[in-house]
Amino acid sequence: MVVTFLSGTPFFLEHSSRRLFVLLVDANLDVAFKGAILHLPAFGEEMNKSRAMVVSQARALAHEGYTVLVPDYFGTGDSAGDFSEASWDVWLEDMRYCLSWLQGKAEGTVTLWGLRLGALMALELASEAAANISKLVLWNPVLHGERYMLQFLRLRLVNSMMYGETKEKVADLKERLNQESMLEVAGYELSSVMFQEIASLKAKTFESKSVKQVLWMDVAPTIKSLAIPAQSLIDQWLAKGINVDVAQVAGPQFWATQEVSRAEELIEATTHWLNAACSEDVESVGC
């Protein structure tokens, strides 16, 4: 019975006539309740490829006493809607709704856990005073929306190169997105609205009065020093009094590998950090 329980309950959360698929992995009742965690997924194919890892992490946390909610953005995964109808603002509104739903259920503060582009979603949510977020877990965060979108457009260019079609340029694709409302990239109908919204996101503009602790996880097959933009952002946050713990672990970048892959050390390190942060935190409910 316990196993079934920890495996999670899938259901739909309905909000503004959008049906969002969510997986709720409830805390193990045999241990003390430690808090609630909302996962903010990666983008596009990265989200599909990381699903198994995300669910494994959610189960590992549930085992330790956390309740974890894993939603699919509108127009992705098992949620209703088409990707072409989605926009960042719609996703943000839905995640805000998931957050308040989880806050109501868990009667306490919620930790946000963002993967890749989901880290920028976590920062957006955490910057809102009403969200009252004190802890963030960021897995290989994307820091610069525009650079990320240009890499996404590059996927279309590389596809055309590999299949010997007429070669395109990212600059032309960007221009097309200014003229037309939609562009197909690697099977995704990317709207110009979504493109512009994501391209305007920057981690370095993040401001929050409530965030006190950040776990910055970086997984790579070969551990090397963090990229300069990442390091300078971490320094900036530390200077603001945010306690940032950086942990680098060896493992596959599972959101990008061709076969589904797992980074066990990432799960262990994340669970360990949250447990340690929880035992230091006597103010919030559950911890």
């Binding site: 590389v158 190169m161 590999m162 395109e168 790579a220 970048q253 990008a256």
Partner: protein, 78 residues
Amino acid sequence: MALTNKIVVLLQDVLQISQPLTEDSTLLGGVPEFDSMAVVSILTELEESFGIMVDDDEIDASIFETVGALVSFVEGKI
């Protein structure tokens, strides 16, 4: 050789393969893991690791034919 070794490690990391690669190893069409997502990841890694910028015009099948071709390309950029 040092550059070749660095690029081989980078390729093995991104592609998640352990098979040995030499300058003559075929990439495009030779390694099943070499898909478009992998190519984009490799380009990003090369740009970040070597501090280079790859222009759209330079993204051509010829630079991904073999490990040696990719090494020469990077050599010309740094």
